[in-house]
Symmetry: C2
């Protein structure tokens, strides 16, 4: 099964240019072929190709299916962009494949990279959504200041990856029991004591992810999988 | 804390050439500096630099610490190499960071890549071992024929990632309850019915890893993290 993305498929009946190119040039699909299309808003459409145009492929919608994220809770990763942009792109691909609702790029005091192009990350997220046959687009947001994130009143289990000993070390896998979840992963230089204190004041729990010292993108992925293993009925 | 790898540190008291270069050229460490060295066999040595030679750094061993893999069970990933070698290198880095004892490259009937240079994967595994401060080197083996793997009498929970409906779909997270574990992840083209049947005859359980259709390297990572979350007392 091959899935394409067209946010306005219902109104336009057309694939965007990049998806049209992939469908007709790369995959050589023709008039009459059946394709599956998601609007990224929880719907998958079974379609028949009317015009296999490599820039604006026209489709006839045959059926529509509504598919909610099956994990059934809001799963948010807030990550300080890694120095190495490739590692962030990899993280976005993997996190979307595994299933997260939102990835926020977080500006921390010790962030070595303050900005990162989100347009490229969004392309990767869409491709991973199609690859893993999801129908809800993962929101990519930011960069957002750490302070704005921890003070926005998110309701659910809130934690940050931390391995200093200022706070008692608690394991994420022991503390999280399901439900809405937000995980903060700090920069290579780690959170500052002020940031940790501010997050704790706002209801965030410093947690560890396993017994290893993990790179930030590995910690974020570990957290995403652990969240599914613990809270996702389909895990 | 910076850790280097020297398999024969106890007998030679010297870092290998690549590690010496990293220590003295890249990190500019000097005589008298303290460094940590693992032999990859469960020991970490606190050492003082006697001669900061960029090709054969000489060390004095101050203390030795024995560190066993804390997860306390044998964790083996057997993976059919991905078409894209980068994805395998990424998988090895991440799997070693998270903590696996052995990664076997598996030759399957539908493998699109039959061979893969293991020397480069071993370099990546050593670097990830040092990065994540482990002291037991992850064994990289293969390529090994699928048949030889499933018939070698491994004792523990044995499963293979599978999403066809020939066998009842069981979730890895529901079926695995800790202890020695071997996970088989098939090629892009999936296992053949013959391979699945042969593995089942040999005590392997077809399992799913979450509700998504995952790329093979993502499935392997999901499996490694899930194994730690379920079976690792430090998870």
């Amino acid at each position: 099964m091959i899935q394409f993305y067209s946010p306005d498929i219902e109104s336009t009946g057309v694939l965007p240019e990049t998806e049209s190119g992939h469908c007709c040039r790369v995959l050589r699909m023709k008039e009459g072929d059946t394709v599956y299309v998601t609007d990224g808003k929880g719907h998958r459409f079974e379609c028949s190709i009317l015009d296999a145009h490599p820039k604006h492929t026209a489709l006839e919608i045959l059926t529509m299916e509504e598919i909610k994220p099956w994990w059934g809770f809001q799963l948010e990763l807030c990550v300080a962009p890694a120095k190495n942009a490739d590692r962030m792109e990899w993280l976005v691909e993997k996190a979307v494949e595994i299933g997260v609702d939102k990835i926020t790029l977080m500006k921390c005091q010790r962030s070595e990279r303050k900005t990162l192009r989100t347009d490229r990350l969004e392309k990767i997220a869409i491709s991973a959504m199609n690859q893993s046959l999801k129908t809800n687009r993962t929101v990519i947001e930011g960069p957002v200041d750490f302070k704005n994130i921890v003070t926005d009143g998110f309701s659910g289990f809130k934690c940050l990856g931390y391995c200093d000993d200022t706070y008692p070390l608690r394991s994420f896998a022991n503390e999280y029991h399901g439900g809405n979840l937000r995980i903060l992963i700090g920069p290579e230089g780690d959170f500052t004591p002020e940031e940790v204190a501010m997050s704790v004041e706002n209801g965030y729990m410093p947690v560890t992810f396993g017994g290893s010292r993990l790179r930030l993108e590995t910690a974020a992925l570990y957290a995403a999988v652990a969240a599914h293993v613990i809270g996702d009925p389909k895990a």
